[in-house]
Amino acid sequence: MTTEQAICFENDGETLRGILHLPARTASGPPPGVVFLHGWSGCRLGPHRMFVKAARRFAAQGWMCLRFDFRGRGESDGASDRTTIHSMISDTHGAIEFLRARQTVRPVVLLGICSGGKVAVAAAASDARAEGLVLWSAEPLGGLGGRPIRAGRSARVLREYAHKLARPETWRKLLRLQVHGKLVGKAILQAETPDRAERRDEDRLLEAFRAFGGRALFVYGGNDPDTKRAAHTYRRFCRENSIAHQFHEIAESNHSFYSLAWEHEAIERSAAWLARLHAWSRT
């Protein structure tokens, strides 16, 4: 029977909190481990509690799973506005340390969703203890994103508003002054701010990922406009750098797998891949 424990660990002077899923005791030695990495503004539950379900599923399969909140997020300490990709990478290293200190867990796999996927890639590039990556709708790291992703979003937001203008309902709202102009402006303009320094920084992390010696599983939704390019560029990058990888597209899924069927497919496909990874690591 699997069990769950609330845990905390320190990293860079902050207390990070999470849940450790322990597999049933087996006679075949220490278990393999998965560290779950949530997205930028998420928490250790994942979208629609997907991390909870996945961790329980993987624990039943013999994996020790750690779901934790990055500093400044969820239940962890730290100021919300001081979280950066670097603090997330450092927290990921802290989580691997926690798992490895508890038992000689091997292999350690990082499972990240959305920007947590990008963090997983960067953390694995600088920590040889991470031997596997499961990347759900992973955002592109650095130059893999092509033109700034936010500019792409902005264009989409504009297209959505243009589409709305064709509806009589929108005009009725406009005439009654029921449209919140400030919000519309914010939605368009905020999305338009590319951060070049951040991009250069990510390029350096991506450079280090060229030498990644582990294996990676990428799972993307077929209807996810945010990561269509990411899937393409990650595939090319892995091929060019001889990184062992697999891609799985969930035909109709959106970005965060917002349906029970898509969620099930992402979890089951990952569970099967983890089982194979564990077998490879023992040979």
């Binding site: 769950e4 609330a6 849940i19 979208p47 629609h48 509690r49 969820g74 959106n254 898509w262």
Partner: protein, 269 residues
């Protein structure tokens, strides 16, 4: 907050242990507050503001317990197994735990969205000295309709059209089928129980209640009337902000948290 402690706790016994965090203030607590989380994705999106609210109240001398209901958040079990009647029992269990750990001081509840409904309902049964309701849901059925509409909008964004009308989804639930609400399996029992309205004051024993409307504008008149109708003696406030419980991204809720802390302070004196 300096001197405060956050302790991971388990409530109950057996296989359905509830998981929570007890925020202990520095020194002897002045009051105890039980937080009631909202449901669905609102639980995830409101996680940080509620943690920050608990830390603020602990810094002001309150013992605060946050916990997950069965089938929700870090709680045991699967979502489709449970319904509001189970979650009310969970609120009772958590309240019992908090009162045992912080005895002989005023006890109150704070809830967001459907959690506010559970808090208001529980405040009638438990020895509550106050209750705070952030954006309660006055009409359960209208809320579910809104959630079904949200599902359709998400489908339109994904496929260019919605796959089933609201009527068809409602019919499925009424026929006893499970409906997939953006990754949350809604059972017919959950649907039936969610369709209830927020319970109002009964008799004269209801504790002081603060109802906060959160939105960029004043609440719609009908909504406000529905709430005023049920809570004639409650204090109503509006906090002009975007609904942080259904947004991607982080919202600074410090003004709402401070207002609530100040109101609790006054309710205690």
């Amino acid at each position: 907050m300096p001197g405060t402690l956050e302790e991971q706790v388990e409530i109950g016994e057996g296989t359905e242990l509830l998981r929570g965090t007890l925020h202990r203030p520095a020194g002897t607590p002045r009051c105890a507050v039980l937080f009631c989380y909202p449901l669905f994705e609102e639980r995830k999106s409101s996680c940080r503001p509620l943690v920050e609210a608990a830390r603020h109240l602990a810094g002001a001398g309150c013992a605060v317990l946050r916990f997950d209901y069965r089938g929700c958040g870090d709680g045991p079990g699967d979502f489709e197994q449970y319904a509001p009647s189970d979650w009310l029992a969970d609120v009772d269990a958590a309240a019992g735990f908090l009162i045992r750990h912080a005895p002989a001081i005023p006890f109150g509840l704070l809830g967001l969205r459907f959690g506010a409904n559970l808090a208001l309902q529980s405040a009638r049964r438990l020895p509550a000295a106050f209750a705070v309701a952030w954006e309660p849901i006055p009409e359960g059925r209208a809320w579910i309709e809104e959630e079904l509409r949200r599902k359709m909008v998400r489908e339109m964004m994904t496929f260019g059209r919605s796959r089933a009308s609201r009527g068809a989804l409602r019919e499925q639930l009424e026929r006893g089928c499970l409906v997939d609400l953006d990754g949350y399996p809604v059972s017919p029992r959950l649907f039936r129980e969610l369709c209830g309205d927020v319970p109002g004051e009964t008799g004269s024993a209801h504790p002081p209640v603060l109802v906060v409307h959160v939105g960029p504008r004043d609440p719609p008149a009908a909504r406000l009337a529905a709430l005023r109708d049920r809570f004639s003696s409650a204090e109503f406030r509006t906090w002009r902000a975007l609904p942080f419980w259904n947004r991607i991204g982080l919202t600074d809720c410090s003004a709402l948290i401070r207002t609530t802390g100040d109101w609790i302070e006054r309710a205690l004196t």
